[in-house]
Symmetry: C4
Subunit: 288 residues, 4 copies
């Protein structure tokens, strides 16, 4: 998990030269969330993030943008300056600024302020503005410290464990949509919609995942028959990721049934909860 990268920075403080006291306390406020000041900082920061993202969204609505250009622009600059100051303070308060800057959240922090400055230099880069919405990711920095961490951890662990199986599944899906898309391209070649293989593959994805926009839909009887097949296949194989994840989650859940201690004789772990003797060497286990 990339998200733990910043967390790894802190332990380094203890190795070697320590931060000066004021930088230390600044670090506690900005990165920590145990102190009263740290909590206040987190709250203010989340509100700023939410507001700045709202500004980005409102700006994208033409009618609002035209009417409130000045207010939105001012708000945008205020947030950018605030975040820039925050970014600077973060750089100052960590012992290894470069490590922070390269970390996942360091990059997100930079991306949150860069577009506004770049827009002044490259006037045409309006598209860059939407990148600012990534500021929302910064919420995770605060979020990760919350009480929901344990829940998220179990879910992420189950996901990580099923990652390989889901990769295989996604690969199979990819093959299916390529083959089905090409078939539909052949079958519906005369009709509107299926103009090329890539477009037909896009249609196959839309159909197999049961999204079904309807912007492209088969017109010939044979095409509709083939499409029906794809739909039923898609309907059937949705069971696969669900089954994988359910099975993995149940395993993760029931893991509490395994003793945490090692055999005092051979050191092997993973004994059942009801085991009185080591199943590997037969040595008696300690009372639990």
């Amino acid at each position: 998990m990339n998200m733990r990268k910043t967390a790894k920075i802190k332990p380094h403080y203890n190795q070697g030269e320590s931060l000066s006291p004021w930088r230390e306390s600044l670090n506690d406020i900005i990165f920590g969330s145990e102190t009263r000041k740290g909590k206040a900082f987190d709250t203010v920061l989340s509100v700023c993030i939410m507001l700045s993202v709202s500004v980005v969204m409102l700006e994208s609505i033409d009618a609002i943008h035209r009417q409130y250009t000045r207010i939105l622009d001012s708000a945008e600059w205020i947030f950018t300056v605030l975040f820039t100051v925050e970014y600077g303070l973060r750089l100052i308060s960590v012992r290894r600024p470069w490590l922070y800057a390269k970390s996942f959240f360091g990059m997100v922090d930079l991306l949150a302020i860069l577009p506004t400055y770049l827009i002044v230099l490259i006037p045409g880069g309006q598209g860059l503005m939407a990148i600012r919405v990534l500021r929302l990711l910064r919420i995770f920095r605060i979020f990760k410290l919350s009480e929901y961490l344990a829940e998220a951890h179990i879910m992420v662990e189950a996901l990580t464990k099923s990652a390989r199986k889901i990769t295989v599944f996604l690969y199979a899906i990819l093959m299916l949509v390529v083959v089905f898309g090409s078939l539909m391209y052949v079958v519906e070649s005369g009709e509107a919609g299926f103009t090329s293989i890539p477009v037909s593959i896009y249609w196959a994805v839309v159909t197999l995942t049961t999204v079904g926009y309807g912007d492209i839909s088969p017109q010939t009887p044979l095409g509709q028959l083939l499409a029906s097949t794809i739909m039923i296949v898609g309907y059937g194989i949705i069971a696969v990721p669900t089954g994988i994840y359910s099975a993995e989650l149940i395993k993760t859940y029931s893991r509490g049934k395994i003793r945490n201690d090692a055999c005092p004789d051979c050191g092997e772990t993973g004994h059942d909860f009801d085991a009185a003797f080591c199943k590997y060497c037969g040595h008696q286990l300690d009372d639990f």
Copy 2:
């Protein structure tokens, strides 16, 4: 659960001054469902609720409303008066009317009659009329007493237990649609449909949940590629809530079926809930 609030009212009757006999018996008829009269009242009430909701629905259909204005209006007033009388009787028959009025069902009962009266005072508030459809919620009052309670209880318990995990999941979904929506806004900026970030986020929700109206759909090759990614992600992560709920439900099912205590003779655990003797050594288990 808010729904139990009214249920909590009854036990209070025994604490202190009792209701007068006729209010006591009125309470049994209106709130109870054990007596013959109570059952009859419940049946009549459900029929009235169903009919009044049908009236609200029929009124909303223009053609029917114009042709049968008088019949529908009369029916509406009859039901409103009936429900008002019922509301009054409920207030009278409980020992603490204020507690009832503030309870979930007390509010629903009030919302069931208020709009019709308000419409006379505020002629323009046609929109209020649809609120009357909430009358349907009153069915739950009768429903909750039914034999399905145990089933609903297991399901709600599993849902409650997975609530935190599902909150985390919903938060992740929210992040995904905001980020994907903004990306699509940038990618498809020149095309029809993706006119602003909020609209693009709406499109991302429509796509990720595999609803796929097709009122907005990507036109550029890059947009279609990105959309395909979102669809496959959405198709994959539907496994997450299902996995969480399945695992929780299986735990809820199997819990309570195993005794927590060990056999006093051989110390073996894992006895069924209904076991009186140890299944390993035959020794009598302690009373549970």
Copy 3:
């Protein structure tokens, strides 16, 4: 299960007067599938059913109907006569014709031939013709004797056991679509599409089940926000029936872990596979 009704007819033959030998052997051919003739009859019947259903389908396609009217009409009459003869033979070969006629499959058999005759008497009843497609249900009569019965049985058993829970779930869905539909009717009242509460409820069903035709879709920002909520709710609660069914199926699966024999002392059953003693009375169980 209604489908077992015809199966119940046979055991009656042994109670009292027996069928004459030729009716007995006719019965073996028509209802049975153990003899060589019975199997041949089943095969011929399935082919006839498939063909007659194909005829019904082809007739519904305008272009084909106009060109091949005579062939299709002849085929239809041939199958109707064949099925009528079969129906007559079935009536003759069972000991209690009335019981057969009232059974589920007796009704289906009648419905398979009736529309063609009725069309002659009531010339305008073209709509009746589609009923003939129900002939397909007759396949189940043959199908039920097949090797897939055990699989179907486990699935149906798990479904039956979760029926009550799924009823509760469907009721909750119904409440949700009525409430959400009405809300959308209020919110989108000025826009095209949401013309009445019933139509809005239809839209809510289309959305909640993630079908999403797009024939009606929200236009106002508030409507799109509300719709997004419904979609995410729908996406989340699809976990519920899946969870219920999965948990039930796993329970049905693992039931094989229970000993089939009863305690020799108290007669109680349902002992665990690893039980050596009756968990109810402590008596030693027989060796397994």
Copy 4:
């Protein structure tokens, strides 16, 4: 699994006359992936396959095809010649060419080169070109040797085991769409869209699988009511394949982890697969 067919060819080499040394080493390079040369060959082959499939896709896009006809045609011929040489080398390097040619991957290898040659002979067969996309299947030959095989194996095993149940489920789905489609044909006969029973069945598949294109959608109130029923049914029964697959996967997971034999000393069963000693009494278990 058809995919193992080519794998079966190799063991034959040991039975009887051996390949000449150079054919042997050629076989190691082309079919094997253990040697350095074998790995290099696999890498080059995958790149060629990916590129050739890209060429097929690009050719199907009209604008690109018109502009780069010569480059694409040349690339196509280069890949075809390369694959033809490869096909020839494969035929030479195996001991039983005919067995290879008839195997699943032998057929795919032939299909990868045939269309390009046929197009010269049959100028009108443009549709054949899309068959070349099946080249992508050749990736599986390389893929199957990868580390993901174990994961794929568990998934395929669970799928194979649930195949019979899923067949029953698919049959039920088929019945449902035929019956619902015919009903909708009758109900919506006057409206646009539901022009014939086959088209109505196509609509029923689109709806039941929650794809919902919206190219055909019910217009009458009765049709919308019926459609809502189908949607909720579809939403409910998606639980069935998921439940089947989840339950099967959990069984596959947990199977093999428990030894089937009992402890020779205390007779307890349920020992883990890797247990050498009884976890209840500490006695050594028999070699497994």
